[in-house]
Symmetry: C2
């Protein structure tokens, strides 16, 4: 155990009590729906965080954004993994190694040419690859629409190829990150569930099994939609939350479990600014609140204990310098002696986390451990 | 040696011939000035890149942005290091370990209270810490202005403290990254040199030695200023260059030596977009060209050999998905089969590099090696 004052800055902190509360809230939100929670580990990339998620209940499988995550979590006990990024043939060999080790890894396909090429790669690797068809419910990114004429032929192609197994359908209502009202999020969540269930029913109507109906995003998962027909919900950022989620009204800043600990390294008294040793290298370049009602700059400033100080934000960043100021007017630098510590809440937990190799875990105000992240691909 | 097609994507590439040309150009630009080049390694964080910089001539010492860089480069032979971020007492112990090992590490101070606290830490660690006073020539960030009444008293404080050694003065014309014309950059460069020399002369006029006069940034280093009185020039991003520098007119896109190799993973034919496996995790969230005359999105797209394709950019990013489209109108996805590779030139080489643990080095179209980066603090 270490005091925060002994931690070299910049450093990435998890407030474990806040995280466990966020985990419990999500578990409760999904519990009555009949669906399982398949948490996305791309936000935290930590098997230690995942253990707390498992302890929260209602979940066994995981979602990953990279094969590095799949391999790392499989090595730590995950045996039911959805790789939620469209797969290309060159990546099938790594998936095949996990499949042969008894780990179910499901891939995502949304195109017939891609499906055929991936099937050939699975055949060459000597495996049957479980795949989900990606459904596009809101024009956000990838996928076929629930009513598309291509949907059933793609399902038939997959079902007919002995190197593939059609495990189900999945969608991600990424458009919900732009929904600034609870009503809009509820509508997005219902649209996400309804669209994905409809796609599954069209496939089943063609006589093809379609067991998994996987939906999700943190905003829609917490929106209280009717999940009839949905078998699992995916969400990631809720473990930590961040200022983008707070700006949407999905959470509040005091419940954000991730922060960057930093040290005051200079004063610019005439400008009413202080300089800290957390620049964009520690905070990330993410400016996800720039388009929201309240622009948090590069992050909202808290005292060393994690209490929000008010309208004090990181106004500018260089690589290893952050310039902290008041949202309006000037700070009195005398409040922030050189050498004193502050915490900064992130715009986007996934992006800020990615700038660090590990977390310092804070419990009751002291650092109780270091948890590594699995970065890279 | 590997063909590019064998490299798993996303992957960070160095075009070594382009990098060596950039290195030679900078060495030539500084050669006649009487100053030494003290390259900033924060862009590449690679001792292998540094070896090519050393081979380019005109340099021996380095500049670092983190103590992790200082320790790593010292372990690979660097013995004259400027840590160019304002130091706090808690970091002096790590510097002291390097000093005791015979590595000159110079720190930066711009405030009397900071200077006294750092001196106490150096005393406790049993070292004499060489420091430069940071000079503020353009209101960009930290430092005391060349004419400030605080300058000479700060120099006297440092010179009088036996735990400190006043090695000189340094400045960084960070404002030059906003100068979009050669004339404005030339003016910024002259202002940077003149201001820093003036600060040194004021200190010398007080009877205090001030050997080092250190200036620099890539735009000002290449601006052809009169460097009389300047002893060294710092620059970093020139090794790779990037789209921000191209947007300023400091270089052109075809000379950018850093890129991200990516694979086409999907098509959105009706939108005229293709989806690749390089999202912001591989490219960074840096949008440094957003405020320039030509907004390059999240990067400018090249074919797999590195030739710019024209006005094709990464228009949107998710964590592991990039959406590529034409700047105007639609792409024909048939030009970009699923599974084919592209390269993406970065907005900001320092930020994109930071998303990766290593480089793949490309020479004559094949990958000849992997070079690690020293990330973290």
């Amino acid at each position: 155990m270490s005091a925060l004052a002994e931690i070299e800055t910049p450093a990435l902190l998890i407030d474990r009590a806040k995280m466990q509360r966020n985990i419990a809230e999500m578990a409760a939100a999904i519990a009555g729906s009949g669906a399982m929670l398949r948490p996305h580990v791309k936000t935290h990339k930590s098997v230690d965080v995942w253990r707390d998620v498992l302890a929260g209940g209602g979940t066994s499988g995981i979602t990953v954004s990279t094969l590095a995550e799949a391999e790392h979590f499989a090595a730590h006990g995950a045996d039911d993994i959805l790789y939620a990024v469209g797969i290309v043939p060159a990546k099938v060999a790594r998936v095949a190694r996990l499949l042969k080790a008894g780990v179910r890894v499901m891939a995502v396909v949304d195109d017939a040419a891609q499906g055929r090429a991936v099937a050939d790669a699975a055949r060459a690797a000597g495996v049957v690859l479980p795949v989900l068809i990606e459904i596009d419910v809101d024009g956000h990114r990838a996928g076929v629409t629930p009513g598309a004429s291509e949907l059933v032929p793609l399902a038939e192609l997959i079902a007919a190829d002995p190197a593939l197994h059609l495990a189900g359908v999945m969608t991600h209502a990424g458009g919900s990150y732009g929904d600034a009202t609870a009503a809009a999020r509820a509508a997005a969540a219902q649209n996400e569930a309804t669209g994905c269930v409809r796609a599954a029913e069209r496939i089943r109507d063609a006589g093809i099994a379609c067991d998994i109906v996987s939906v999700g995003s943190t905003p829609t998962a917490l929106a209280g939609a009717d999940l009839a027909g949905v078998t699992e919900v995916r969400a990631g950022v809720y473990t930590f939350f961040d200022l983008v989620m707070a700006g949407l009204g999905v959470t509040t800043p005091d419940r954000i479990a991730l922060s960057v600990l930093t040290t005051v390294i200079g004063h610019q008294a005439q400008k009413g600014l202080i300089i800290v040793d957390a620049g964009w290298m520690a905070l990330s370049r993410d400016r996800g609140t720039a388009g929201q009602a309240v622009d948090q700059g590069y992050g909202l400033v808290c005292d060393a204990d994690g209490a929000v100080l008010g309208d004090i934000i990181v106004r500018e960043c260089n690589q290893e310098h952050g310039l902290i100021g008041a949202r309006d007017g000037r700070l009195d630098p005398a409040r922030f002696p050189i050498g004193s510590q502050l915490r900064i809440l992130p715009n986007h937990a996934c992006a800020t986390g990615a700038q660090h190799s590990h977390y310092h875990v804070v419990e009751n105000g002291v650092v109780t451990g270091q948890w590594p992240r699995i970065n890279g691909w």
